[in-house]
């Protein structure tokens, strides 16, 4: 017993310098705490992004502790499934990992006469992952484009197919780069295509995966793999590569600070789209859920799921969309 007591004191002393990595991102303490209101009941359906799938579930679970009789059903088959469901009225919440395309907004307006309202609910950084054994230090977006794209719209000169072309040595020199990506219904696919591939086309050799977690699994089990996915999916088996933006030379890691500062080149907002008529208040239940999502409690679920919580400045803008009767 005594031995452990001493070990414990030592542990306390050493604690500060221990090598266990940094703490997760903290939620902005300036965000409001969530306040319960009375008489909330009813049903909500959420159909949309699978990146937001787990996060929506966390929010639904958290919201249920305040309002036990509010039922939230969650379906997540990809961002592209959100607009049709919102338009058909089969869902009240349309989580999306990319902004709606003009055609989707048009289709919504055609039915309701006003555009849908997008509420930013979290930040995400898209990461380029390699196997944990891969010695590569960082990549530029041009290189990422030359690795993934067949058209190289970002201006890469030659297609990169082996790790040797990226400067790796020994057994890596001749190892072909094995590509992992998402399927085309996913918002992650669309975002990556637009921002990392300069709207070019993916190579045919990209192994399209049905979920972000399977991209990570693929990269974990394939030493010569590279893949892209939300940074929230990072595990111990993969490494998140720092990136340099187009035309820049500075390397930025995918950390919350860099995303807030806007310097990490592949960061994006995650949205929940709702149907709000101008001049009328939002459906009370939907409004309450969004208030919960934008509160400290809701944003701590964002951290739990590995995404980046909103800052007070962003939250102030978003909460206006919920509260205002414009």
């Amino acid at each position: 017993m005594k031995r452990w007591g001493i070990a414990w004191l030592v542990a306390l002393g050493v604690g500060g310098t221990a090598a266990v990595s940094a703490s997760p991102i903290a939620v902005d303490i300036r965000l409001p705490m969530y306040q319960r209101v009375g008489g909330m009941t009813g049903n909500l359906n959420s159909i949309g992004s699978d990146t937001l799938n787990n996060l929506m579930t966390f929010w639904a679970e958290g919201f249920a502790t305040y309002y036990p009789s509010v039922k939230i059903q969650i379906e997540a088959k990809g961002s592209s499934t959100a607009p049709p469901a919102l338009i058909a009225g089969t869902s009240q919440l349309g989580p999306m990992s990319r902004p709606m395309k003009p055609t989707e907004i048009d289709a919504f307006e055609k039915k309701y006469g006003y555009p849908p309202t997008a509420v930013a609910v979290a930040l995400d950084a898209l990461g380029v992952f390699v196997n944990k054994d891969n010695p590569i230090q960082h990549l530029s977006l041009e290189q990422v484009d030359s690795i993934f794209s067949s058209t190289r719209a970002c201006g890469g000169k030659a297609s990169l197919t082996t790790w040797g072309q990226l400067g790796l040595e020994a057994e890596w020199a001749n190892a072909p780069i094995s590509l992992y990506g998402r399927n085309s219904a996913s918002g992650t696919y669309g975002y990556f295509k637009e921002h990392a591939l300069c709207k070019g086309d993916f190579k045919g050799s990209v192994k399209e995966q049905p979920g972000s977690a399977t991209v990570i699994e693929g990269v974990t089990n394939d030493r010569f793999a590279i893949g892209y996915s939300g940074m929230g999916y990072k595990t111990a088996g993969v490494r998140l590569l720092p990136l340099t933006g187009l035309g820049s030379t500075k390397v930025y890691e995918a950390t919350a600070d860099k995303v807030y500062a806007g310097t990490y080149p592949l960061s994006r907002y995650l949205y929940i789209y709702v149907n709000k008529a101008p001049g009328k208040p939002l459906d009370p239940l939907v409004a309450e859920l969004l208030r919960y999502v934008l509160s400290q409690e809701g944003q701590s679920a964002v951290v739990k799921d590995g995404f980046i919580p909103l800052l007070k400045e962003i939250e102030a803008v978003e909460i206006k969309k919920v509260d205002d009767v414009l």
Binding site: A18, V20, T41, N54, P68, Q73, A213, T214, R223, G237
Partner: protein
């Protein structure tokens, strides 16, 4: 002939080729002459060997698959020791061994046979990640502290560390680890009791109250939709509903108050957890799901923890976006959907087959229909899903909503995916299985039986209904077994006709009308897909995927065994009737 290993002598004998398989088959055949091996016999027995080979391959695949699932799944819940490690780079870790692998050979400095281990270090809320790879050479010391505790929590996954304080309104226990541990154990039953009370208020009392409010709201909405709110009777009705809502809301406020007090009381009982590197975390005792000290657990204690985890897995609802807790709603949804599907598909298929085989005049038209039915079995299941979505959900469901539940629009009642539509879609998908099986069974009923019945003066219908169909029942049940197995394991069509990741309510509960076929539901097959493909902490949830697969297999086996027993009873009945 290639020389084979002689099994009995254990050496290679070019004269007498022999394989395990052939020895087995020959001993089964019990034919003395066939044991004399001549080249001609070998050739003539080739087909027998082939059948044996195919059976062996099928067995191998089943055993291999089951073995993989069992190995990966069953070990998941077994409590493992917590290792305390110090590494050469000043790191201190406390965690479970998750996986080991050799370090790839290119890392020359390590030598070819170096190993590394993936440790699960938990504490996801204070560390950035809950898994860490450690090279075995970097480990300086390794021990199993007896006081290390595994705390399974409602949120943020497990905590591996120590317990430093237990705070209650009566005072704080801290210091001696043994005393703190004992104090925490003493507090656990009352914490569990408080959780039960709170959950009862939340789920039952408030839930029912809100359901009542909802009913009144819908009644008001119905009155509004009828558009004549000026008549005195309607005015009276309206006021009655409004008054009822007001009364219910007052009651709600009172209950919510007491709930708030209960919660505040509950929050006063707290525990302070410490990690190996001295970081602390305080949480209410009721947020603990399970605690144990794995390094001092006896064998019985381990079994108890295992059993408790298994119980939670099968009987509790999921937590933490389905990556923890149990799968009870998914089990329930799977079983109910399969049963609903069987109820729908068996009459449909059997009556269809009866018409096709007994009544319809055999000709090109009937042959065409038969071919069409058989081909239906080859249509990809996702196509059935799309059909179900368009036909059942949007067309039929949408129509029902417009005429029966207009007050609930735009929120769909039957107009979206639901367990009813999913079951019917699967029923359509499996109908060819039943038709084909029933037709085969009907064809196997001897014609003499029909003729005898007709000769006794029975009508055609009586013959079919009382004589032919009962004799064909075992065949029909075989078809049902196949259909259920296919239906229970199907995921693709369900994904668009009513399965969701999280369904807060079950399709069966204590509220009128008890069975709610319009609700969406959870399904084990989809659960596997969802947790395996979508969860952000894939390393931690992989085991959950295997366990869920095992459970799904178990359920299919259970359903099949039940159907087989029924079939056995029917068969017996007919054997005794023959005598």
């Amino acid at each position: 002939m290639r020389p084979r290993l002689n099994l009995t002598s254990g050496r290679i004998d070019p004269e007498r080729p022999s394989t395990l398989l052939r020895t087995l088959i020959l001993s089964w055949s019990k034919d003395e002459r066939s044991r004399r091996v001549t080249p001609r016999r070998v050739v003539s027995q080739l087909p027998i060997q082939l059948t044996g080979c195919m059976l062996a391959i099928a067995l191998l695949m089943i055993v291999g698959l089951m073995g993989l699932i069992l190995c990966q799944g069953l070990g998941t819940f077994w409590p493992q020791p917590l290792w305390e490690l110090t590494t050469s780079d000043q790191g201190r870790y406390l965690g479970l061994v998750h996986r080991r692998e050799p370090i790839p050979a290119d890392d020359h400095a390590q030598g070819a046979r170096a190993q590394r281990t993936l440790y699960r270090i938990g504490n996801r809320d204070v560390y950035e990640t809950d898994f860490v790879w450690i090279n075995d050479q970097h480990i300086l010391t390794q021990s199993r502290p007896t006081e290390a505790v595994v705390v399974e929590r409602l949120e943020w996954g497990p905590w591996y560390g120590f317990i430093s304080d237990v705070k209650t309104p009566e005072g704080t226990v801290s210091g001696n680890r043994e005393q703190v541990w004992a104090a925490l154990l003493r507090q656990r039953p009352s914490a569990r009791q408080r959780t039960r009370v709170i959950r009862r208020i939340e789920r039952r009392i408030i839930g029912d109250l809100n359901d009542e409010v909802e009913q009144h709201r819908l009644a008001i909405r119905r009155l509004e939709l009828r558009g004549r709110l000026d008549t005195p009777t309607e005015q009276r009705q309206l006021q009655r509903h409004q008054h009822a809502i007001k009364v219910l809301e007052q009651r709600y406020a009172r209950i919510a108050d007491s709930l708030g007090q209960q919660r505040a009381q509950d929050q006063a009982y707290r525990v302070v957890l410490t990690s190996i590197d001295g970081r602390q975390k305080e949480l209410p005792i009721s947020a603990i799901v399970r605690i144990h000290q794995p390094n001092r657990l006896s064998w019985c204690g381990r079994v108890a923890v295992y059993a408790d985890r298994l119980r939670e897995f099968v009987f509790d609802p999921p937590r933490e976006a389905n990556t923890e807790g149990g799968v009870a709603p998914a089990v329930f949804g799977t079983v109910l959907m399969t049963l609903l599907m069987s109820v729908a598909v068996v009459p449909l298929g059997v009556l269809g087959a009866l018409c096709l085989h007994e009544y319809a005049k055999q000709g090109p038209l009937v042959s065409g229909v038969r071919i069409a039915v058989n081909n239906l079995a080859g249509v990809p299941s996702i196509v059935f899903g799309v059909f179900g979505l368009g036909f059942f959900c949007y067309l039929i469901g949408g129509t029902i909503d417009r005429f029966v539940f207009p007050e609930r629009l735009p929120t769909p009642t039957f107009g979206g995916g639901s367990i009813l539509w999913a079951s019917l879609t699967l029923a359509l998908m499996t109908v060819p299985v039943i038709i084909v099986a029933t037709e085969e069974a009907l064809a196997a009923v001897p014609n003499g039986l029909r003729e005898a019945s007709l000769a006794c003066g029975a009508s055609k219908f009586q013959t079919v209904w009382r004589v032919v169909l009962p004799a064909a029942i075992p065949g029909v049940l075989t078809g049902t077994i196949l259909a259920m197995a296919r239906g229970a394991g199907e995921v693709a069509p369900l994904m668009i006709t009513g399965v969701v990741k999280l369904a807060p309510t079950m399709p069966l509960d204590h509220l009128w009308p008890f069975i709610h076929l319009e609700r969406k539901f959870m399904h084990l097959g989809f659960h596997i897909y969802d947790v395996g493909y979508q969860s952000t902490n894939i390393e931690a949830s992989k085991a959950m995927v295997y366990m869920t697969t095992l459970l799904l297999l178990g359920i299919v086996v259970c359903l099949n065994v039940t159907a087989m027993r029924i079939r056995g009873q029917w068969r017996q009945r007919f054997h005794s009737a023959d005598v």
